[in-house]
């Protein structure tokens, strides 16, 4: 594998932060994970990947047998990129190691949207770089089909340390689907993923991420997004399968006027799962807008659903909606919506609700002839159905299918 070069300054900063705990989530002992795995063979044709891996990836929204509805594909197994391809010249999809060789300027984006010394996890990624993906839409180019990326854990006890950079150049439009999943059902593993998004003037990016782990895996994504004038970033995050410990708090900064960000998250915590997931938005330029929506369901696991909006410029507007359903068992949902304003003419609001399904609602449906179980399932299905404005219909349908596939286990 090619070495990833990073400047001495970043390395020094990372070393200094290598024991720094994160602001949220259980502290993970990085020492128990191994950092290297066998190299995996490169596949020119992604449909030639092992059937079991393909099936897992499909469950996370990554389609390899027929890629006609994808603009590009990137697959990384453990720490080796095993496939990358793009079907258009105007879209670059490649391993980070390759991208750094191709573009000298890429170092200008390195650790600019996420601070290398945020915590021990970002530091660990810097000090143990093992690739990741680079996706870029050239100026003015609009994709119709999404680019798909999969980060796959194949070796038990491994720490996967990836650093991804996504750049949407001026006026471009880019749709990305990422599936993160694993080969094994029970063995522990650690996924550390740094993702930096740069949305240039007038560009639009939709990023749909589906996580499908196992009850022993710890996950610490670290995401930063910078949006320039008139840019749009739309994130959809879905996790409905068990995980040991997940903590993430992606942060987006609207740096240019009228920049817009939307975060939608669907979280389902089964018994034993611990999730601490939030979205943070800084509205730093006039007219910037954001909407953060999260839907959390517990069937026994614990969820912290956070949200933070800060308004620092005139005429900004932000809304935060956190809704949680406790379906059964010993589960806990703790919604923590936060708003901070530093000016007079801003408009920030939030609504949060946590509880079980109201008996009155179940009875209303029962009065139309549904059994209690059917009524509950209908309400849960509705709860998880988030209308995502701006997502292409194809992706909307795929996302809905992914959610529905997991819904059946709930009631």
């Amino acid at each position: 594998m090619r070495e990833i070069k990073s400047s001495q300054t970043y390395r020094d900063k990372a070393r200094a932060a290598s024991a720094k705990p994160a602001a949220h989530g259980d502290d993970i002992d990085l020492g128990i994970y191994v950092s290297s795995a066998e190299e995996q063979p490169y596949q020119t044709d992604p449909s030639q990947l092992p059937a079991k891996a393909k099936e897992q990836m499909l469950g996370a929204g990554v389609i390899l047998d027929d890629t006609s509805q994808r603009s590009g594909t990137f697959i990384q197994m453990d720490n080796t990129p095993v496939h990358s391809s793009s079907r258009q010249d105007d879209i670059e999809v490649m391993a980070m190691s390759q991208a750094l060789e191709k573009h000298d300027w890429l170092s200008d984006y390195w650790w600019q949207a996420v601070a290398v010394d945020s915590d021990k996890y970002t530091a660990h990624v810097e000090l143990n770089q093992s690739n990741g993906y680079f996706i870029r839409a050239l100026p003015g180019y609009k994709t119709i089909y999404p680019v798909q990326a999969c980060l796959y854990l194949a070796k038990a006890q491994l720490a996967q340390n990836v650093h991804n950079i996504i750049i949407a150049e001026e006026g471009s439009e880019l749709h990305i689907v990422t599936g993160c999943t694993t080969a094994f059902k029970k063995e522990p593993g650690l996924h550390l993923g740094v993702s930096e998004f740069y949305i240039k003037r007038g560009a639009k990016v939709t990023f749909t991420m589906i996580h499908s782990w196992n009850p022993e895996i710890a996950v610490r994504p670290r995401t930063g997004v910078i949006i320039e004038q008139d840019g749009l970033f739309l994130s959809n995050y879905v996790i409905m399968k068990p995980v040991h410990s997940l903590q993430m708090y992606p942060a987006a900064r609207c740096a240019g006027e009228n920049a817009t960000v939307r975060f939608n998250s669907i979280l389902v915590a089964t018994p034993g799962s611990m999730m601490d997931v939030g979205s943070r938005v800084l509205l730093d330029a006039r007219g910037a807008r954001t909407e953060i929506i999260s839907r959390a369901i517990t069937t026994g696991g614990n969820i912290f659903a956070r949200g933070y909006i800060e308004g620092n410029a005139p005429d900004v507007k932000g809304h935060l909606e956190c809704r949680g359903l406790i379906l059964q068992g010993e589960g806990m949902i703790h919604a923590i919506p936060e708003l901070k304003g530093t000016l007079a003419n801003i408009d920030l609001s939030h609504e949060a609700a946590v509880g079980k399904i109201a008996e009155e609602e179940i009875e209303y449906l029962m009065a139309r002839g549904l059994t209690r179980t059917e009524a509950t399932a209908t309400i849960v299905r509705g709860f998880l159905k988030v209308d995502i404005e701006g997502l292409p219909p194809l992706l909307s349908a795929e996302l809905q299918r992914a959610v529905e596939a997991s819904e059946e286990d709930l009631t």
Partner: protein
């Protein structure tokens, strides 16, 4: 046919209706008058089978079967349906989902679209049920769900209150359709019990029997137009004398 015998219902430990007797024959529609808080909604909720409305005495018999302890959803599947005065908002569940649920096995997009058109509700199909609905929209949405459900016995809780004069005709037609009034009397199977304050609904529905509820007790059947005229002229005071004085009889 629906027979109610000596029914007493308590809500949260409080006795709300008492010793009620009521017979509604096959093909008949009855109207129910009464001041606010007298227990009309409670009677309907108890017939429908909401667990909070506890029957502490008496029986409800539907087509010869004692349904007093039958769960709510089984009563619905047996052919009892209700329009709610204040139905809950169910976030995420669309109006079209509710109609689909009401159709049960007969669910199908075309049927949903046709019903919506019939009730002038097409624009509301994609909205979350009851979320931000106006009073009139709630009424039409409730009737549309009932038309999908096709109950044999329909309970209507103030279907015309808060509806403007333009829409009242539409509401009236929908109710008529529900109660199967287009069929000749001999073939008519559908039954109904309708709570009304204004009596406007009687211009559309051929209700031949009316009752008055006061303080959780009910009068025996009478001509609904005469009853309404009395209420309009003398208020409920006059009815109270009659209802409470004679208590109940079948």
């Amino acid at each position: 046919m629906l027979e109610i015998r000596q029914l007493t219902v308590t809500v949260e430990g409080r006795k709300i209706i008492q010793d009620i007797n009521l017979n509604i024959g096959t093909g008949e529609a009855h109207v129910l008058f009464g001041p606010n808080g007298s227990g009309k909604t409670t009677l309907l909720m108890a017939i429908m089978g909401f667990p909070k409305y506890r029957v502490t005495q008496g029986n409800i018999i539907f087509n010869g079967r004692d349904i007093t302890s039958l769960p709510l959803d089984e009563r619905a599947r047996l052919g009892i349906g209700m329009s709610f005065q204040r139905p809950p908002v169910v976030r995420g569940v669309k109006t079209s989902d509710m109609i689909g649920a009401s159709l049960g096995d007969r669910e199908d997009k075309l049927t949903i679209d046709r019903l919506a058109e019939r009730a002038n509700m097409t624009e509301l199909l994609d909205r979350e049920i009851n979320y931000g609905f106006s009073g009139g929209e709630i009424k039409r949405s409730e009737l549309m769900q009932l038309l999908a459900q096709k109950p044999e016995f329909t309970l209507l809780d103030e279907p015309e209150s808060g509806v403007d004069l333009v829409n009242i005709a539409l509401i009236g037609e929908l109710i008529n359709e529900l109660l199967d009034k287009s069929c000749p009397i001999v073939n008519r199977k559908c039954m109904g019990l309708i709570i009304t304050h204004t009596g406007h609904i009687m211009d559309y529905v051929n209700a031949r029997t009316g009752h008055v509820m006061i303080d959780g007790r009910i009068s025996c059947g009478g001509d609904p137009r005469e009853i309404l005229a009395t209420i309009k002229k003398q208020g409920y005071e006059e009815c109270a004398k009659c209802v409470l004085g004679r208590t109940t009889s079948a």
